[in-house]
């Protein structure tokens, strides 16, 4: 079933919180086993953080390889229902009998009517930072979340739209799909079990005061680098530095930017080493004369990912330097000087580069969003710890992990959810 805005009380077997790759996987596994599943997501689209990547492990394919298959399975499966722009505001009851109150925020666009023709955008006078591209460009107040958004429907950012004062889009829309008077709605969903797949967000790099993010334009984060490299990103896939649009001939990747650091995220975020190596290959493929420096404490490439490390190391223009960057200084012409001690030689190195990519870690959304499930136990970092009857966490909500392990965990969570629903 497609998304529609329901009213009153709904019921299903399993409710999945979070429509990223973990939540979607759990929902599909359960629904394809014959259970009724609800997926709710805060964003106006499904796909979560994976949708924002350029390529993802293990096969280094574009995210829509995997996501598109999931979306097709959703489309062809009447047992799965999803709600975007929705948040859980209350959960009561226990395993086998949960009542979940969900607040649906107004999209101001009728999903059933919008054809994504895009004419509304032409007339909209208001611009807003595009959070899908981590603020590196803007969209209009009415916008398509991204090129391959699912559902492929427009949405209005209610916090900036001038509503009735303007209403130009309403007049322009041939399908009468825009309704500026939409209000938030609250519904209740009955469920027998809950899968928590709330995922992660990149650690706030402005807190890393010694690394210059927010101070120097050409210091970006790894998630921003994914957007830069993506064909539907702010630069249409061209890797250029923010200050002057120049193609960077030298880029420093700063590992453990906030991870493994008790002043920030005390744990290893598990994916950043691979992400930086992957991004070094983006750079080297697109700009063959470029050079990448990867500054690290320890390179962590568990299991078969070691092969990728070996492969990347073969490129002599990807230089690995053992030593954490603890200082980024401003150089000339927007360049940056990264300072580290090469602990293998005992020399302090000052490397001038044209762009710096901070490998910021994964912070669990659960550490922030205060999910109203009182039985859910979090560890001191905000990851879900032990399962409680009827409530199962999957993906990065449980701990930092790559896509492949998130999907495997989701399958496990789906089975747990089914067992609880069966009782």
């Amino acid at each position: 079933m497609r998304e529609s805005i329901p009213s009153g009380q709904l019921s299903g077997n399993i409710l999945v919180i979070g429509g990223g790759i973990a939540g979607l996987s759990a929902a599909l596994e359960a629904s394809e086993a014959g259970y009724d599943v609800f997926v709710i997501d805060r964003n106006p689209y499904l796909g979560g953080r994976v949708a924002q990547l350029y390529k993802y492990f293990p096969k280094l394919c574009p995210p829509y390889c995997g996501l598109e298959i999931l979306f097709r399975r959703i489309r062809s499966n009447p047992k799965i229902k999803f709600l975007t722009m929705s948040e859980v505001v209350d959960v009561s009851g226990s395993a086998g009998n949960f009542d979940v109150t969900v607040k649906i925020n107004p999209r101001y666009v009728d999903i059933a009517k919008c054809t994504a023709c895009g004419e509304c955008v032409e007339v909209c006078p208001v611009e807003r930072p595009n959070e899908f591209n981590y603020g590196m460009d803007t969209t209009k107040a009415i916008y398509l979340p991204h090129d391959l958004a699912f559902p492929m429907k427009y949405v209005i950012d209610g916090s900036v739209c001038k509503k009735d004062e303007c209403a130009k889009c309403v007049q322009t829309c041939k399908y009468d799909a825009i309704d500026l008077s939409m209000e938030p709605k609250t519904i209740t969903i009955k469920a027998e079990s809950i899968v928590v797949a709330t995922g992660w967000k990149p650690y706030d790099a402005t807190k890393l005061t010694n690394l210059g993010f927010g101070k120097y334009q050409n210091v970006i984060t790894n998630v921003m680098m994914e957007r830069l490299a993506s064909f539907n990103g702010p630069t249409k896939g061209k890797i250029v530095r923010p200050s002057d649009g120049k193609e960077p001939s030298t880029v420093a990747f700063v590992q453990c930017a906030g991870s493994r650091d008790e002043n920030h995220l005390p744990y290893c975020s598990a994916i950043c080493c691979l992400a930086s190596m992957k991004q070094a290959t983006y750079l080297r493929e697109q700009l063959p004369d470029s050079k990448a420096y990867i500054f690290y404490i320890d390179i962590r490439t568990p299991g078969r990912y070691e092969d990728f490390y070996t492969q990347v190391k073969e490129d002599e223009n990807i230089v690995f330097i053992k030593g954490k960057v603890a200082k980024v200084e401003e150089g000339e012409n927007g360049n940056l000087i990264v300072v580290a001690e090469n602990t293998l030689t005992g020399e302090k190195t000052r490397t001038e580069v044209e762009m710096v990519v901070l490998a910021t870690g994964m912070q669990p959304e659960l550490s922030d969003i205060n999910l109203p499930i009182k039985d859910l136990k979090l560890d001191s970092y905000g990851f879900a710890t032990f399962d409680v009857p009827g409530i199962y966490a999957a993906g990065v909500a449980r701990g930092p992990s790559d896509v492949a392990s998130s999907v495997e965990e989701s399958t496990a969570a789906a089975l747990k959810g089914i067992q609880a629903a069966k009782r």
Binding site: N210, N263, I297, K324, A326, A340
Partner: protein
Amino acid sequence: MVRIEPDIRFVKDLMKMGGGDLKKCFQCATCSVICPQSPDENPFPRKEMIWAQWGLKDKLLRDPDIYLCHQCNDCSINCPRGAKPGEVLNAIRNYTFYEYSTPKFIGKLFTSPAYFPILIAIPIILLYAFLQIPGVLLSPEGEHVVYGNFINHLAIEVAGMLVGAYVIVVALLSFYKYWKAVGMSSGPVFEVERGVEGKTTMVSGGFWYEFWNALKDILRHTKFSECAENRYRYLAHLGVFYGFILLGISTLGAVAYMYLFGVKELALPLYDPVKILGNIGFLLLFGGMSWIVYRRLSASGTAGKPSYQDWFFITDLYLVAITGILMEASRLAGATDIAYPLYLVHLVLVFMLLAYAPYSKFAHLMYRGLAYMWAKKTGRLVGAKEASE
């Protein structure tokens, strides 16, 4: 092939002497980069951290870099592991006080709070014995407090000189041991080419040249002023340093009054230049010490947790200053029943400060001074600016 000989006992000692978190270090080298004082080549304190973990006692105790550290604590604040390199280097310095002390069994008494009763008993016993000598203890009369009427000034001076002579002898022996250890007589010599086209080649100019350069840095507190996170240390230490020097000068002034100008009554009036100097010295010392104690105790912990050796020295110096000023106040107030006992306490504390100087944290003056000279000799502390001068 490098043979590593770990000294486990040494690691444990360092952990007891203030480096309790040293094993948390995972060698990321944030410390070496963030340190405002560390040179580019073989920077500290990352290498010291792994030497400490491995128990490489010989390497660490011969490494003058530990004295180029002024515990600004930028490293400890930014350390991702809470390994507190600033405190570990302080612990290594504490260990050098013991390692190079002469005789070593006295140095041992400063390594653990367990020996504290002995350290306090020594001056009390000595003072008691001293006062038994006929003619030392006098019986003061009258309403005015005159310390010279309580204990014979000459006796105090003779005793002071004996203590001073002892201190100088053992300090020189310790200084020499450290001199040998860091390789002052055999190590590399810094050469710098001066002039535009390298016309003159300047080789480090021997003991006095290095001594003078090191002294300039000490007097200016050049290295201290580079601290970033704890800038207070520069000013606080400067206050303590010059406060101490002013008090020393005023002491010499008082001695000069007695023997050069024949002043018998040493209770100098407040407007006397020597007294003014002494009181300014007190204010600087007291202000600096208070600042240090306040910051060291403050809850944020950014100034670093003091080790036992730090506390021993800080407390003693602080109490010397306090008892000193209270003596002056009780003299002015004519409170004889307070003033004289206070004088005895003050003497014990001063003894602990001076006689223990070569063993306690006070010894950092000579070891750090030597490390400065070594750094001047090898060019380690010479920045680009200095080399181009």
